[in-house]
C-alpha cells in the first residue's frame, strides 16, 4: 500500500466510526459506542504510522504525494476534486492529531461514563477528528475549507453538547459564528488565488505563485491577510479569540481535544502549509507574528488573574498558540510545529488532570476553592505537576526544547525579530508563574473539604450546578451525569494521562540542539524550497538561549512558590494595590465588550430598524402608495364602492391591453 492509500484510511476510520455510532444509536450500548469511537481513532493512528513508513521509503525530494478519489465539483472552468496531499507536514499533523485524540477518546470512555448522551458524544468526537484530518490532508483549497468548516461545526456541536445549559448554547454559537468569519476569509483568499494563478490546487498554486508574484506584491499580501483571518479565527488569536474561553462550556475531554490536538492548531498548520505564499508576502508574515506576540502576552496576563481552572488553561492555550504563530510566521517552521506537538502532549494532560480534579470537586471549577489534593489524588496531582513543568518549560521537559527552538530562531534572524525573543521570554516568565499557580493551588496547602472527604475514601457529591451561572443543572442532558470519575479510580483515564505524561516529559528528545534533529530532517520534504528553513541557529547560540530559558522558567516557578505557598497573602495585597490593572486583566482586556459594541449591537440595531421602520414605511409604502393611487383613480372613474384590487387589476389590464393593441396596430 502506498502512503496515499494509508492516508485515505486515516480519513476513513474516523468517518466510519462517527457514522456507525450515529446511525446505530438505538442499537449500540453506551460502552460499545465508546470503544468503537476509540478504536476508530486508534486505527487512524495506526494508518498514520503506515503512511509515515511508506513516506520515509521515498527519497526526500519525492515526499509530496497526491491522490484523487473523484471529481467532486468540476465544471465551468473550475476544477475541484476530492484530492489529498500527503507530505511530511500532513503526516506529522495526522500523527499528532490521531495520537493525542486516541488518548482523549480513551479518557472519555471512563470520564463520560454516566452521561445520558454518551453515543452522541462519541459520534461528534469522531467527526471532530475526521474534520481535522480532512483539513490537514486536503490537496486543494476547497477541500481545505471543507475540513476547516467541519472543524468549526464539530466544535459547535461539542461546545453546546450540554444543550440544556443556556451558557453552553450561547458559547457554541459564538464559536461557530466567529469561525464562519474565518471561513469567509479563506474563501475569499481562494478566489484571489484562482484569479491570479488559475487553480485551486495547493501544490500547483505554490509553483505558479513563485513565478507570478514578486515579493510583497499587493495581491499576495492580500491573499495572506485573508488567510490570516481564517487562521486567527480558528487558532483564537487576537482579535478573533473571544470564543475560546467560552468554549470551556463543553465537557472537559472536549476542551482537551479542541485545545491540544485539533482545532486551535489549525491556524498554525495553515500558515506553515502556505509558507510559499507567506514567504512572498513578508509584510503579512510580520503582521501575523506581531499579532501572535500580542496574543501571547495578553493571554498570559489574563491567565494570571482568572480563577476558573479550565479558563486559566484555556488562556494558556491561546498564549502557547501565540508562540507557534510567531514561530511559523517568522520562518521557524520546525520550532513552531515542534511546539505544536509538545503542547499537544502537555496541554491534553493538563486538561485531563483538571477534569479529574473538577470531578473530585463535584464540578466546582474555581481554584480559590481547591487545595491540598496531593494525598487524596496522588496520581492526578503528580501528572498535573508534570504537565505544569512542561508548560513552564522546566529544563529537560519537552516544552523547554520546543519553546526555545522558536526563540533561538528569532534571535538568529536578529534585527526587528529580537522583539519576539524578548517578548517570548517575558511571556515565558508569566507562563511559569500561572502554570504553578495552578500546580501549587491544587496540589499543596491544607486539604480542602472535598480533598479530605476523598482521603476518607468518599468522592464528594453535590447538587449539580452550572459553574458559570449557579443555576441547577438539568441532569438528564446538560450535565455529565450523576457520577463523577477520577483518574485514581478509572483505569482508562489513568492510562491516557500516564502516556501523555511520558510524552510531556520526554517529547523533547526529537529535537535537542546539537544532539538530535529528527523533525528538521523529516520536514525537509515539505520545506526544502524555503530559504528560511535552511537558516538554522548555531548549536552554541541555541544552548545560550536554552540557558536563559531555564533561568526564567525556574525564576517563574520560584515566584509562584513564594506567592502561593510561602506567603499566600501576597497576591491579595497585590490585588489591593493594583485594583484597576487587576480588573482590566480579569475582564479580559474588555475584548468581549468591544466586540459586543462594534459588531453584535449594531447588527441587531440595523435589524430592528429594518423591521420596524423600513419594512413598514418603504416596502409596504410601495404597495400602499400604488393602491392609494388606484383607489383615488377608481373613485374618480366609478365611485368608491368597488374594492381597490378589482379596480387596480382592471386598470392594469385595460392599460396594458391598450399598449398591446398599440403594438399590434403599429406592426400591421
Amino acid at each position: 500500500m502506498s502512503a496515499t492509500d494509508w492516508a485515505w484510511l486515516v480519513l476513513a476510520f474516523p468517518l466510519a466510526g462517527s457514522t456507525v455510532i450515529a446511525l446505530g444509536f438505538r442499537v449500540l450500548s453506551a460502552k460499545a459506542a465508546g470503544w468503537i469511537g476509540t478504536a476508530a481513532i486508534g486505527l487512524a493512528f495506526a494508518s498514520s504510522i503506515g503512511a509515515l513508513v511508506m513516506l520515509l521509503d521515498e527519497p526526500t525530494e519525492a515526499r509530496q504525494l497526491t491522490d484523487t478519489l473523484y471529481q467532486y465539483a468540476s465544471a465551468a472552468g473550475l476544477e475541484i476534486e476530492l484530492g489529498i496531499l500527503v507530505d511530511p507536514l500532513s503526516v506529522f499533523m495526522c500523527l499528532v492529531v490521531t495520537g493525542v485524540s486516541t488518548l482523549i477518546h480513551l479518557y472519555s470512555v471512563a470520564y463520560m461514563d454516566s452521561d445520558a448522551g454518551y453515543r452522541r458524544f462519541f459520534s461528534y468526537l469522531n467527526f471532530f477528528v475526521f474534520s481535522m484530518l480532512l483539513l490537514v490532508l486536503a490537496g486543494n483549497f476547497v477541500l481545505l475549507i471543507v475540513g476547516w468548516a467541519f472543524v468549526g461545526f464539530a466544535s459547535y456541536a461539542l461546545i453546546s453538547y450540554w444543550y440544556r445549559r443556556n451558557t453552553a448554547t450561547t458559547a457554541g454559537m459564538k464559536a461557530f459564528v466567529i469561525n464562519v468569519v474565518g471561513d469567509v476569509g479563506l474563501v475569499l483568499a481562494a478566489f484571489f488565488v484562482f484569479r491570479e494563478l488559475g487553480t485551486f490546487d495547493l501544490l500547483a498554486s505554490f509553483d505558479a505563485a513563485s513565478e507570478t508574484f514578486t515579493t510583497n506584491e499587493g495581491v499576495v499580501v492580500a491573499i495572506c491577510c485573508l488567510m490570516l483571518v481564517g487562521a486567527f479565527a480558528k487558532s483564537a488569536q487576537v482579535p478573533l479569540h473571544t470564543w475560546l474561553p467560552d468554549a470551556m462550556e463543553g465537557p472537559t475531554p472536549v476542551s482537551a481535544l479542541i485545545h491540544a490536538a485539533t482545532m486551535v492548531t489549525a491556524g498554525v498548520y495553515l500558515i506553515a502549509r502556505m509558507f510559499p505564499l507567506f514567504e512572498l508576502a513578508p509584510t503579512a508574515a510580520d503582521i501575523a507574528a506581531f499579532l501572535g506576540l500580542a496574543t501571547l502576552l495578553i493571554a498570559s496576563t489574563i491567565a494570571l488573574v482568572v480563577t476558573d481552572l479550565k479558563r486559566i488553561i484555556a488562556y494558556s492555550t491561546m498564549s502557547q498558540i501565540g508562540y507557534m504563530v510567531v514561530g511559523v510566521s517568522i520562518g521557524a517552521y520546525v520550532g513552531g510545529l515542534f511546539h505544536l506537538m509538545t503542547h499537544a502532549f502537555f496541554k491534553a494532560l493538563l486538561f485531563m488532570a483538571a477534569g479529574s480534579v473538577i470531578a473530585a470537586m463535584a464540578n466546582v471549577q474555581n481554584i480559590d476553592r481547591m487545595s491540598g489534593f496531593r494525598r487524596a489524588m496522588p496520581l492526578t496531582s503528580g501528572l498535573l505537576i508534570v504537565g505544569a513543568l512542561a508548560l513552564a518549560a522546566f529544563p529537560g521537559t519537552s516544552g523547554f526544547f520546543s519553546k526555545d527552538e522558536i526563540l533561538a530562531f528569532a534571535t538568529d534572524r536578529g534585527g526587528m525579530y529580537l522583539i519576539f525573543t524578548i517578548g517570548g521570554y517575558i511571556g515565558a516568565l508569566m507562563t511559569a508563574i500561572y502554570a504553578f499557580r495552578i500546580g501549587f493551588r491544587v496540589v499543596s496547602g491544607e486539604p480542602c473539604e472535598e480533598a479530605r472527604e476523598l482521603e476518607r475514601g468518599h468522592l464528594h457529591h453535590a447538587e449539580p450546578r452550572n459553574p458559570a451561572t449557579g443555576e441547577p443543572e438539568d441532569t438528564e442532558v446538560g450535565f455529565p451525569g450523576p457520577e463523577h470519575q477520577i483518574a485514581e479510580r478509572r483505569r482508562p483515564m489513568a492510562i491516557a494521562m500516564a502516556i501523555l505524561g511520558v510524552g510531556a516529559l520526554f517529547g523533547g528528545v526529537l529535537q535537542i540542539p546539537g544532539v538530535t534533529a529528527v523533525l528538521e530532517h523529516f520536514f525537509e520534504g515539505t520545506f526544502e524550497d524555503s530559504p528560511l528553513f535552511h537558516l538554522v541557529p548555531s548549536t552554541a547560540a541555541s544552548w545560550f538561549g536554552l540557558a536563559i530559558g531555564a533561568v526564567i522558567s525556574v525564576a517563574g516557578i520560584a515566584i509562584a512558590y513564594y506567592c502561593y505557598v510561602v506567603n499566600p497573602g501576597v497576591t491579595g495585597r497585590l490585588l489591593e494595590r493594583l485594583p484597576r490593572l487587576h480588573r482590566f486583566f480579569a475582564r479580559k482586556w474588555y475584548f468581549d465588550e468591544l466586540q459586543d459594541a462594534l459588531v453584535h449591537r449594531p447588527a441587531i440595531a440595523i435589524g430592528r430598524f429594518a423591521n420596524s421602520v423600513f419594512e413598514r414605511v418603504v416596502v409596504d409604502g410601495i404597495v400602499n402608495g400604488a393602491a392609494g393611487a388606484v383607489r383615488g383613480a377608481s373613485a374618480v372613474v366609478r365611485g368608491a364602492q368597488s374594492g381597490f384590487v378589482r379596480a387596480y387589476a382592471l386598470l392594469l389590464v385595460g392599460g396594458f391591453a391598450a399598449l398591446g393593441i398599440y403594438f399590434l396596430v403599429a406592426a400591421s
Binding site: F25, Q71, Y72, A73, S74, A75, A76, G77, L78, I80, R120, V142, I145, V146, A149, F150, F153, Y156, S160, Y163, R164, N166, T169, M173, F176, V177, V180, V181, D183, V184, V187, L188, F191, F194, R195, D474, E476, V477, A603, I606, G607, A610, N611, E615, V619, D620, I622, V623, A626, Y648, A649, L652, V653, F656, L659, G660, F663, L664, A666, A667
Partner: protein, 497 residues
C-alpha cells in the same frame, strides 16, 4: 414524454375532484410518485455535455400569432423539473399521510389545485415559446391564490390580495413585454414568432431591449421575491398553509431566477449587459437585507422567508455575474435552496405541533426526546447556512467566484451575507431545539409517517453534498450557451452593421 409529465398532474387533479374523499389523496400521491419517476428518468437519460434542447416537442398552436406549443429540457431545466416533481410528491404525500385536518373538509379541491399548480410550474420550466412561458407563468398564480385564500391561516384574504396585486403587476408587464418583443422583431423579419430560439436569432435594438428588460425583470424579481419588492412575502408566508409554502418558496421562487437564464439573457443580451450592475446591486441588497431581517424575526416562517430572500439574492448574483461559473452555481443553488427550504417548512410544521407556537421566543428544548428529528433538522440547518461540505456551499462558492472574478466588490459585500447566514440559521435551530423546554411544549420524536417524507428529502441533501458535480456537470453546457449569448453583446463583432 414531456407531454405526459406536463399534463398528468392536471389530469389526476381533475380525477381527484370526482373521486371519493378517502381515495383522492392516495390517487394523487401515486400520480405524484409516478411523475417523480418520470423526472428521474429524464435526468438519467440526459445527454451530458450537449447544449442543445432535448426531448423536443414542437407543434403549431396559434399559427396566426406565431405561437407554438413547444416544450423541451436542457441542462438548466432538467433538475428544476426534477425538483418540482420531488417537492410536489413530498407535499402531496405529506398531506395525504396526515389526513385532512389542514384541508377544511375540501380535500378534493386541495389536491386538484395542487395538480393544477404543478402543471403550470412544469409548463413554465418546459416552455420554449415565449408566450407559452408567459401563460404558464400566469397560470401558476391561480391555484396558489386559492390554496392560500381557502386553506390559509389568519388574515389569508388580505395576504392573498397583496400577493396578487404584486404578482399581477409583474405578470402583466411581462405579457406586454413578450408581445412587444415578438411584434418588434416581426417588423424586422416580417414573420410573427414567439419561439425563443427565433427571437434569440433576431435581436431587438438596444433601446427596445432595455425597457422590455425592465418589464421582465420586474416580474421575475417580484416572484423571487427580491428586495425591495418583497412586500407581499411576509403576509403571504404568515397566512399560507405550510405544505403550500414549501412549494411557494421551494419551487415558485425559482421560476423567477430561471426566467432570467431562459429568456432575459438570450433575448435581451444588450440590456442585460447594460443593467448588469443594477441587478447585482439588487441581488447584494437582497442578500444583506434578507439576512439581517432573518435574524431579527421571531416567527419561524418569516426567518425562513427572509432567508429565502437572501438565498435568491445569491442566485441572482450568480446569474448576473454573466460568467458561466457564477450561472452554473446559480443553477445548482436553485435546486439546493428548493430542497432545504422545503425541509425547513416541513420541520416548522412538526415544531408547531410540539410547541403549539411558531414564535421563536416561546420555544426551546425540543431536541431532548427527539434525537432523530434533531439530527435531521441539524443537517438541514447546516445546509441552509451553506456549510462547506454541503452542496449549498459549492453553489455559493461558484456564485461568489463568478461575482469575484467579474466585480470583486460585490463578492466582498455578498460574503458578509455568508457570515450572517450562519447566525440566523443557527439561531433558528438553537432557539427551537436547545435550551430549556418552556411550559406547554412537548418534546416528541418524529412520527414514522412524517419521517417517510422528511428523511428522503434530507437524504437528497446529503447525497447532493457528496456529489454536487451531478448538477454542475449537466448544467455546464447549457449555461455556457446562455452566457455566450451575452458575451457577444459585450464585444460586438466589428464586421456586423
Amino acid at each position: 414524454m414531456l407531454n405526459v409529465l406536463l399534463w398528468m398532474p392536471l389530469a389526476i387533479g381533475i380525477l381527484c375532484l370526482v373521486l371519493p374523499h378517502r381515495v383522492a389523496p392516495w390517487v394523487a400521491t401515486i400520480g405524484a410518485l409516478a411523475r417523480l419517476g418520470l423526472a428521474i428518468g429524464l435526468v438519467i437519460g440526459f445527454d451530458l455535455g450537449v447544449s442543445e434542447l432535448q426531448h423536443v416537442v414542437d407543434e403549431s398552436w396559434i399559427p396566426d400569432l406565431g405561437v407554438r406549443y413547444s416544450l423541451a429540457i436542457d441542462g438548466i431545466s432538467v433538475f428544476l423539473v426534477l425538483l418540482t416533481a420531488l417537492l410536489w410528491a413530498g407535499v402531496i404525500s405529506f398531506s395525504a399521510l396526515r389526513g385532512h385536518h389542514e384541508q377544511r373538509g375540501r380535500r378534493r379541491l386541495f389536491y386538484f389545485l395542487l395538480g393544477l399548480g404543478e402543471t403550470a410550474t412544469l409548463g413554465a420550466f418546459l416552455a420554449q415559446d415565449l408566450l407559452l412561458f408567459v401563460l404558464f407563468f400566469d397560470l401558476m398564480l391561480i391555484p396558489f391564490f386559492f390554496l392560500i385564500g381557502i386553506f390559509g391561516g389568519r388574515d389569508r384574504i388580505a395576504a392573498t390580495t397583496k400577493m396578487i396585486v404584486y404578482t399581477l403587476v409583474g405578470s402583466l408587464l411581462m405579457l406586454v413585454g413578450a408581445i412587444a418583443t415578438a411584434i418588434l422583431v416581426a417588423q424586422d423579419t416580417g414573420e410573427l414568432s414567439f419561439s425563443i430560439a427565433e427571437l434569440r436569432a433576431n435581436l431587438l435594438s438596444t433601446g427596445s431591449q432595455e425597457w422590455i428588460f425592465c418589464f421582465f425583470a420586474a416580474a421575475f424579481l417580484v416572484k423571487m421575491p427580491a428586495f425591495p419588492i418583497h412586500g407581499w412575502m411576509p403576509d403571504a408566508y404568515r397566512a399560507a398553509p405550510l405544505p403550500v409554502l414549501v412549494l411557494l418558496s421551494g419551487v415558485l421562487a425559482k421560476v423567477g431566477a430561471y426566467g432570467f437564464l431562459r429568456i432575459v439573457l438570450p433575448i435581451y443580451p444588450d440590456a442585460t449587459v447594460t443593467f448588469q450592475e443594477v441587478v447585482m446591486v439588487i441581488a447584494v441588497a437582497s442578500i444583506l437585507y434578507g439576512s439581517v431581517m432573518a435574524f431579527t424575526q421571531t416567527n419561524l416562517r418569516l426567518v425562513a422567508g427572509y432567508s429565502s430572500v437572501a438565498q435568491l439574492g445569491f442566485i441572482t448574483l450568480g446569474i448576473f455575474s454573466l460568467r458561466s461559473d457564477g450561472a452554473d452555481g446559480a443553477v445548482l443553488q436553485m435546486v439546493n435552496h428548493g430542497l432545504v427550504v422545503a425541509a425547513i417548512f416541513l420541520i416548522i410544521a412538526l415544531l408547531y405541533e410540539r410547541a403549539r407556537t411558531e414564535d421563536l421566543t416561546r420555544m426551546g428544548g425540543l431536541a431532548t426526546r427527539a434525537p432523530v428529528l434533531a439530527a435531521l433538522f441539524l443537517v438541514v440547518t447546516m445546509a441552509t447556512l451553506a456549510m462547506p461540505g454541503s452542496a449549498n456551499f459549492i453553489g455559493e462558492f461558484y456564485i461568489l467566484n463568478g461575482a469575484f472574478q467579474e466585480k470583486i466588490a460585490f463578492a466582498f459585500v455578498a460574503a458578509i451575507g455568508v457570515a450572517l447566514a450562519a447566525f440566523y440559521a443557527l439561531r433558528l435551530y438553537q432557539r427551537t431545539m436547545h435550551n430549556r423546554l418552556p411550559e406547554g411544549a412537548e418534546s416528541r420524536e418524529i412520527s414514522r409517517r412524517d419521517s417517510l417524507v422528511l428523511t428522503p428529502l434530507v437524504a437528497c441533501i446529503v447525497a447532493l453534498a457528496l456529489w454536487p458535480g451531478l448538477i454542475l456537470e449537466r448544467g455546464e453546457a447549457s449555461v455556457e450557451d446562455k452566457i455566450a449569448a451575452v458575451a457577444e453583446a459585450r464585444e460586438p463583432p466589428v464586421a456586423m452593421r
